[in-house]
Symmetry: C2
Subunit: 161 residues, 2 copies
């Protein structure tokens, strides 16, 4: 039995208590960009209920071009106006470098990725980088409320950058 099979089983309980459907546009008009880290559940950490908010996640919670694509769709088509970035302590992204990661892949596969791995040495600094990337992007209409946090995996707190 794979984890996927366990997910299918778990979903049966979820269906029993389910109340839907909710409206498509996020009720609280906010989009969260967070790390994919297993210890970070943005809904629990920030008190987000179903229907409230878009949640965008990737390795690092980095404001990549794809995160900007998602934010542009979120704001332009689905009415969000506020953005919250969430990085965290003890992040895997500080344990390697782009050069090392790309070279290891090239050694293993013979092919070097055309993309940056987006490793960073400091979570708070990368939150600032993310805010700068959003501010400089021409496709995001609402930039008045962009704030960033570092989630502490030891205490559960979020510390504003």
């Amino acid at each position: 039995m794979t984890v996927t099979d366990e997910f299918i089983e778990a979903n049966k309980s979820y269906q029993e208590g389910f109340n839907g459907p909710l409206p498509l546009p996020p009720a609280r008009k906010v989009a969260v960009v967070a790390c994919m880290d297993a210890r970070l559940d943005p809904a629990k950490v920030l008190g987000i209920n179903e229907g409230d908010a878009h949640v965008i996640r990737n390795a690092g919670g980095v404001v990549t071009e794809d995160a900007l694509r998602s934010l542009a769709i979120s704001q332009r088509l689905l009415g969000t106006e506020e953005i919250v970035l969430v990085h965290h302590t003890d992040c895997g992204m500080v344990t390697f470098t782009d050069d090392g990661f790309r070279q290891d892949i090239e050694k293993d596969t013979g092919i070097r990725p055309t993309w940056a791995a987006e490793a960073f040495p400091d979570a708070a600094e990368d939150v600032k980088q993310g805010i700068n990337r959003i501010r400089s992007n021409p496709f995001i209409p609402h930039k008045d409320n962009i704030r960033g946090f570092v989630f502490d995996v030891a205490t559960g707190s979020i510390d504003e950058v």
Copy 2:
């Protein structure tokens, strides 16, 4: 008071019941790629607890280059071996076209994005597209367990593609 301020308040309750820290590598060795949709909470839908799984999310739950970057980091550096894709019914991505979205942005801002919006007409077909993109990608080492689902926002069920 912004929604972000409400998130900060909600986080105080979360801290009170917090037990940490958990280990960095996902305990269940699985990565989920899901849509950013507000009505889809992957942790609740699939029974994922803190520490269990990487969760990658973007507009559509599309297997973009950035999702592949995240999956490569997830598998190569943090030990995941299984991948689950989750799209959903009533998705915003079926309500527009790439051409229309890009033209609207060009009209508003004078600049046309260099990226595809990744709109799709059918959620199940785009899950298949995502599986194909992962299978053909040279940087993802573990491809034996890749499965995809469409979450039903009206019933809470997940239907395997």
